[in-house]
Symmetry: none
Subunit: 234 residues, 2 copies
DNA sequence: AAACTTAAAGTGGTCAGACCACTTTTTAAG
DNA sequence: CTTAAAAAGTGGTCTGACCACTTTAAGTTT
């Protein structure tokens, strides 16, 4: 609701230094391999403290645009992948990297149906048991008037666990984490919580039946049912 | 209570501070919204200078893990997408075993074909142009005897960019980053680099033709051709 | 008692100078 | 010329101070 990172006037000093270097690099004035002036010299030239110069260099280094070598100097490095992406996004606009909610939902649409299919192929009886008990909890929460958002999140996490793929589990849990608040809001709409529970049951049934095709479709249906529909149509 | 800030080979002080906070956040000791001690206090607790603390905080802020507010304090912020990707790569990086590599390839199989389809639907002429120039670079690298791993990584990243989905871009870049070394090893096998270039061209053709179905299949084929398990297939 | 105003404390942002650790260059010795 | 030692250059860190902004507490007014 509230804008966060549009602090035009409240710009920190080292940040403006970073932007200055971005410009110098994009204009080709600083080329790959070029050596930057020493921090002390840079500080004097820019008329700032050395600490600010260092914090700016730290930022540039994290962006992959520069490499500092103890004892020898700091060098431009525009051939790294990080450097490429940084310059691209820097040229694209001043706005920070805030991600839209529908972008995340799109990732879920790409990921979770496939994930459900994988889970259907690999879920152990213990996994099915865990998923089942989570649905019991979700049912209880809903009957007590809650949204069941905790159980909802747990279900998706448990489903990821059922794939027995560590990388997948981490990706999904991270994505789910970001979604938690907005999900709670979504589930407060009348009938939404019950519908979520119903489609969860459908997914679980497919998984326990080892029907990976059905699980994929059930998850796709679930996401469509839960996502903040009719918000913005592009 | 007072653990040692062990200084490994060539590790800068502020970097070890960053790693320390990564651990604290991943262990759940520092939760979203928590307020960090003041920089002066932190410096005294860690027995380092305030400048080092500030450079560490600058890094954490760039990684999206904390937010500093002038006059009020510095706060943990793990609900941003940046935070999620950095924690992901931080967890995936050091403990990298072979098992995790296979898991990551599986994630790519789930993600990238869909991603290619999306890119085919949304790629702008500028995106196509960028992809094309990357392939030129890859061809040049291969002809010079290199593996072309840089161009290879750039291609997948640029493809993610063509979806114009910030969340997707970040997830993919996190996954690709981990894959880089193993990819280089994979591409050193005879004929593998050329085949990678060929399938990249096929993907680009599908994308430029807006053929999302073809792009999906081409990417699936590409991944199967490049992934380590296919060593025995040829 | 409540609302407003003002002063103080807390905290991030910046600056200055100093010293250390490492690297490169210069100088001196063989 | 080769080699070793000294010097210079540079990033890394520490200390202490002051500024700018925010929050809190104290004091005043209503």
């Amino acid at each position: 609701m509230q804008a966060e990172l549009h602090n035009l006037d409240g710009q920190r000093l080292h940040e403006s230094i970073v932007l200055r270097f971005h410009a110098l690099i994009q204009q080709g004035i600083l080329k790959h391999g070029a050596k930057l002036p020493a921090e002390r010299v840079l500080a004097e030239q820019l008329k700032v403290g050395r600490g600010s110069v260092r914090e700016a260099i730290r930022t540039l280094e994290l962006q992959g645009l520069v490499v500092s070598k103890h004892g020898s100097g700091t060098f431009i490095n525009t051939q790294s992948l990080d450097a490429m992406t940084t310059l691209m996004t820097s040229a694209l606009g001043p706005g920070g990297s805030e991600t839209q909610l529908r972008d995340i939902f799109e990732v879920r649409h790409l990921l979770e149906p496939q994930l459900a299919a994988l889970a259907a192929q690999r879920a152990t009886p213990a996994d099915v048991e865990r998923l089942s008990s989570i649905l019991v909890e979700q049912r209880r929460q809903i009957m007590e008037g809650e949204t069941g958002v905790d159980a909802d999140t747990k279900f998706h996490y448990a489903l990821a666990t059922a794939t027995h793929n560590a990388a997948l589990i981490k990706v999904v849990s991270a994505v789910e984490d970001v979604l938690r608040q907005s999900r709670d809001q979504s589930l407060q709409q009348p009938g939404r919580a019950e519908r979520s529970l119903a489609s969860h049951r459908q997914i679980l049934e497919m998984v326990s039946n080892r029907d990976h095709h059905g699980a994929r479709e059930a998850m796709e249906h679930h996401l469509t049912a839960v996502e903040p529909s009719s918000v913005f149509v592009e």
